[in-house]
Symmetry: D2
Subunit: 345 residues, 4 copies
C-alpha cells in the first residue's frame, strides 16, 4: 500500500521532493499546496499533482479557479487524506504549521530552515535513520548539515571520535533568485563560531564541530573547507579515506585536474550532463586531489548543491517516519535507484 504524501509549499524544495516521491513505488503525492495561482501551478498540473491552497479561506481557494486552475481545497482538506506532510514552506512558519499538523493527526517533516527545537528530532539518512523510525515528526537538516553528515559520519564510525572545523563558503542566492546580493563582496557571518557546523550534532551528537561562514557572490553551490582531527591510532591514510568515501552513498569523488572539474561551475556542468532534472546534484562532491591527511589532521574540500542534496533524504525520512524500511542503507538504495531510473535520459 502506497504512503500518501502531502507537500505543503511547492517551491524550490517542494517541487523537487514531489518529483522524487513520485518516482518511488511505495509512496505517492496526494497533493501539493500553493498560496495562489502562479507558474508553479502549471508544473503541478503538468505532473498530475492535485493542487490545494495553503490556506483554508474559501475566497483564497476560489482565486485558483479564476485563473483556470482546479483547486481541490485548503490545507486542512489535504492533511485529511495524507499519511505524512512534508513542510516546504518558507522558514519561520514552523510553529504555526506544526500545530496544524498535530491537530490533523498527520506525521510531519520540516526542513533545515526550522530549528531543531521545533521538533526535538532531526534526520539524515546515514546518521540517525533508526532514531527516527516511527516518530510522529522530525526535521530533515539543512543542505549544509546534510553535506557534512555525508562525509563525516563514516569517518566518525571508523574512528570513534572526531573533532572538526569547517569554513563554509556559501552561495549568496539561489540561481532563480534575482534580488539578493552582494554582487561584488564577501560577507562573513559575524556570529563566531557560526551555527552551521554544530547543527551536525542534532543528528550525530558525538562529532565535535565548529564552523565559520561567509557568503560570496555566486548562485550555484556552497563549498566547505574542512579540517578534521582524527584520534590517535585511526589507522587511516589519504587513500583509505578516499576508498571509504567511494563506498559511501551520495558522495561523488572526482579528480579535479584529470577530469577538468576545477570549480563549482564545472561540477554543476557535470550534473547537467548526467541528466538529472533541474541539473541537480544530490551527491556531495569531493575533489580527490583536494584531500590530504597530514598526521592526524585531515584537510578536504566538498561542494554542496544547496537546492537538491536534501531531496533523497526527504524520501528516506518518509520511510523512517512510516516505519516501512528500518535499514537506512536499503532505503537509500531504493530511493536512489528510483530517482536515477526516473530522471536520467
Amino acid at each position: 500500500m502506497s504512503i500518501k504524501v502531502a507537500i505543503n509549499g511547492f517551491g524550490t524544495i517542494g517541487k523537487r521532493v514531489a518529483d522524487a516521491v513520485d518516482a518511488q513505488d511505495d509512496m505517492e503525492i496526494v497533493g501539493v499546496t500553493k498560496t495562489g495561482p502562479s507558474f508553479g501551478c502549471d508544473l503541478a498540473v503538468k505532473k498530475g499533482f492535485p493542487l490545494y491552497c495553503t490556506f483554508d479561506e474559501p475566497e483564497r481557494i476560489a482565486r485558483f479557479a479564476e485563473q483556470g486552475y482546479e483547486c481541490h481545497g485548503g490545507l486542512s482538506d489535504l492533511l485529511a487524506i495524507a499519511d505524512v506532510v512534508v513542510d516546504c514552506a518558507p522558514g519561520k512558519m514552523g510553529a504555526e504549521n506544526l500545530s496544524k499538523y498535530q491537530n490533523a493527526g498527520v506525521k510531519f517533516m520540516f526542513q533545515g530552515g526550522e530549528k531543531h527545537a521545533l521538533t526535538g528530532l532531526s534526520y539524515t539518512s546515514s546518521a540517525n535513520h533508526a532514531e527516527n523510525l516511527n516518530a510522529q515528526g522530525t526535521r530533515v537538516v539543512s543542505c549544509n548539515t546534510t553535506g557534512l553528515s555525508r562525509t563525516l559520519v563514516p569517518l566518525y564510525e571508523h574512528c570513534g571520535s572526531l573533532k572538526v572545523e569547517c569554513t563554509m563558503i556559501r552561495r549568496a542566492a539561489d540561481p532563480g533568485d534575482s534580488k539578493k546580493g552582494p554582487i561584488n563582496a564577501i560577507k562573513p557571518v559575524l556570529k563566531v563560531p557560526s551555527h552551521h557546523g554544530p547543527d551536525v550534532m542534532t543528528v550525530k551528537p558525538e562529532i565535535e564541530i565548529n564552523s565559520l561562514a561567509v557568503a560570496v557572490p555566486t548562485t550555484i553551490m556552497h563549498l566547505h573547507s574542512i579540517i578534521a582531527d582524527l584520534p590517535e591510532g585511526h589507522g587511516l591514510t589519504t587513500d583509505s579515506i578516499l576508498a571509504m568515501w567511494r563506498q559511501t552513498p551520495r558522495v561523488i569523488i572526482m579528480h579535479g585536474e584529470h577530469n577538468r572539474i576545477t570549480t563549482t561551475a564545472e561540477v554543476m556542468e557535470m550534473a547537467r550532463d548526467i541528466g538529472r532534472k533541474w541539473g541537480d546534484l544530490h551527491e556531495i562532491f569531493v575533489w580527490e586531489d583536494g584531500v590530504e591527511l597530514i598526521g592526524n589532521r585531515l584537510y578536504y574540500f566538498q561542494a554542496i548543491h544547496q537546492e537538491s542534496d536534501v531531496i533523497p533524504e526527504n524520501v528516506d525520512c518518509i520511510r523512517a517516519l512510516m516505519g516501512t524500511e528500518p535499514d537506512w542503507r536499503a532505503s537509500v538504495a531504493k530511493t536512489d535507484a528510483a530517482i536515477s531510473a526516473y530522471y536520467n535520459c
Copy 2:
C-alpha cells in the same frame, strides 16, 4: 531509412545536437568525436553513441583504449559511414575541416562561430529552409542570429520591409566556464556597429539591421534590446504583434509581472522547471509587458539561451540538406514534438 549523422566535436553544442538527433525517428547518430579521453567520453558511452577520435593518427586513437574507452577510429572512419556531419568543433577550425568533409563527400553543417563566407550559405528554420534544400553544406547561424531571426522574420513577412537596431547584452561566459571574466565590469564591443545584427542578413537579406554589443558578468543568457521600424501602413498593434509571436514556433511569450519572471534568472528557472535536459530553453523568450509599439517604432526585449537555441535548427537543417522535408513548418513541428517527448519528464 534513417539519416546517418556524425557529430564532429562532442562539447557544449555537440552533445546537445547529438541528443536532439537521437530523439528523432528519421535520423540517428553514427558517431561522435572527442580529441582524447575525458569525462565527455562517459557521456557518449552512456548514451550509446560510438566514439571516434577527432584525429586519424593511430597513437591518438590508441589513447582512448588506455583509459578504458572503446574508440571506433578516426574522423575519416566516421565520415566514411555518415550522410552528414555536424561540425561542432571550436571556432576557427572551419577551413581545415571543410576540406576534410569535401574530400569525404559527406554533407556538412557548420555552426555560427564560423563565417558565412566559409560556406556561402547559412540557415535558420524560419528564414530560408527552402534555400538550403539539398545543398551540399551550410552554416547554422549563431545563437544571437537565430534569436533575431525567430522574432524578426515573421514581422518582416507581414510588413514587407523592416529596419532594426539591436543592443545585445551578452553573457560573458557559459555556466561551465570558470576562466573568463569580467567579474565586475561592462565590456562594450568597440567595433561599431557590431557584426552581430547584420549576420541576420545572411539568412534574410531583406531585413536592414545594425547592432551594438556589450558583455556583462553573467553566465546564463543573452538579452536583446530591440528597436524595429515598421513601414507605413503596417496595420499592426502591440497586441497583434504579440498574437503573431504566439503563433510563431520556438518563441515563448510570458508576462514578467504576472508570472514573476522579471530577469534572465527566472527565465532559466522556468526552463529547469519544464524539464528540459541541461535546463535548456530552445525557445526565444519575449516579455509580454516589455513589448510596445509606438507609431511605427516597435520596442521589445528578448532573452536567448546561448547554449541551446540553435539545437532544434540543427535538426531541421539536417532535413534541409538531405532534402527529406521541404516544408520548414513541418520539420519544426516534427523536431519539437520529438524533443519534447524525449526530454520532459
Copy 3:
C-alpha cells in the same frame, strides 16, 4: 561673501557634494545632517563640517552626544543659517522636505531621485543654467540624465534637432551596497520605453529621446548604448563629432584599444589613477573607437560613474540659484578648477 550651503543627507551623494562645495572659494558648508550617530559622522567631524540631526526632536538630537559627537541642532536650526539647502535624502522624501524648505524660506535643490513634477524645474550645467538663474528651487537631474545631457546637448546645439534612442545598461548596486542583486542575471525594465531617456527633456525639451533599460550584476558604472539620428545637412563627421566632444567640459574621450581601456573596470582604474577622492570620475567617458557616424545615424557608447557625475553640476546649480554666475561655462570652469586643485595629489 560666501554662499552658505546646507547638505540635508550626508550619504553617497551628500558627502561628495559637501567636499566639492568645500573646495570652492565662493561657497561654504554651514552644516550637514545625519539621522543618527554612525561612521558618517566621523567623516563630517574630520572635514570640519558642523553636524546636525535630520530631525528636530530633542531626543534624536541628544543621541549624537551619547556617542560622543557634537550635534548643533535639528534640520530647522540648519535651514535657519543657510542660503541654500542641497537635498541628498533618500528618494521619495521630497514632498515632505520641500515644505520644510519653503517654510524656512531657503533656496533648495533636489537630486534626480525625485521627479521633475516636484519642483517643475530641473538642471544640468550645459542644458539650462540660464533657465535656473535666481530660481527658488530646482532638481539636479540623475546621473543618467546628466550623462546624456553632456554629450547630446552640444550635438543638438550644432544640429538644431536630434532624435535619440538609448539602451541603458545599468549597474545593479553601488560599490558599498552589499544587499542588492542580481548576482547572475540581466533584469530588463519592463516599462517600455523606460523613463530614463525622456528625462533629458526636462532640461532640453527639444531633444526627442526614448530609452530601454536593463540592470546587470556590476557595481561600478552605467553604460549607455546610443543611437542618434541627425537631421539632413548636419555637416558632421565621426571625427568632427569627436572634436566637438573634446571641447565639451566634463567629457573624456579615450581610445579603448590604444589605452587598453576596454571595459568599465579599466575606466574606473584610470579614475583611481588620476587621484580623485573615492576614485570618482566626474566626467562622462566616451570610447573614441566606439563612435561611428553612418549616414545620418550616429552610434556611440558612453560610461557613467553613477556616484559622482552629478557632483560638479550641484556646485554650478548653487551658483545658478543664487544668481552669482550667469555664464554656465564660467561656472563649470571655476567648479572644475577648484575640485581638481583640491582632490588630485
Copy 4:
C-alpha cells in the same frame, strides 16, 4: 641625505610604492620603468617621476619619444643612479632581474609574487625588520602573508607559540582586471594545504601554520577565516586580544553591526571615505564582533586589501636595507604619518 629609490615596473604595486616613497622625507624616486608608452606614463609624468624603459635596447627606448614621452634611458641607466630598486615586475621574472640588480651593485627588493628561495630572505615590518637590516636584498611578502603577519605576530609575541589554520577566500581578479573569472563559481586551490599560510614562516618561522584557499567572484578584497590555537596559560581573553590588536600598527578594528560594515564592500567604502588615494586600505581590517576565543582556540575573520597592504611595508623595508632606521616601530610610525599627511584630504 635622501635614499635614491628606483621602481622597476610602474603597475598596480609599483605606482603605489612610488607614491608612498614620494611622501617620505628621507627617500625619493629617481625613476620608474615602463615597458613602452602607455597611460601609465602620463601618471609618472604628472607625478614628476623620471621615466625609464624596462629594457636597454635603444629602439625600445626610442618608442617613448615617438609618443611624446621623455624617456631618460634604460633600466641600466636607472640602476646606476639608485641606492635601491623595488622590483614590481610581473611575477616569474625574478631570476632574470636579480642578476641585473646584482651586476649593478644596487640593493634590491622583490614582491611576494617571487619565491623566498630567490632571495633567501623575506620581510614584514613587525616580524623581522631587524633581520633585514643592511641586507643586500630581500622579498616583501605577499598581501596575504603580510596580512597574517600583522595579526599573528603580536599574538605569537605574547604567547610564545601558536598553531594556526586559515581558509583564505580570495578575490579572483583585481578591480581593473577585466579578463579573469570565474563569474559564477568557487574555485578551490587543489594543493592541500595551500602554500599561502606557510609563507608566514619565511618571516616568523616559529608560527606553525597551514592554509586552504579558494577563489571567489569578487574583485575588492581577500578575506581570511582563521583558527589559532593558543598554548596553555596564554592568559588572554577575547577582549584582551582586541585590545592588543588596537595597539598594533596597521590593524583596524571596527564593529560590523554597530558601524554597518558587514561585508568587504562596506570596508572598501570606508577606505574611500577616509580619503586614501585609489581608495586603498593599508591596514588589515578585523571585525570586532567576528573575534571569539573559546578555551584555547581563537576564531576570527580579517579582510585584506590585496592592492595596497604591502605598500607601507615596502617603505619600511627600504629603511631596513639601507640601515637608516633599526627600530621597526619607529619606521612604521614615520611611514604612516607621511602617507597619512600626503593622501588624506
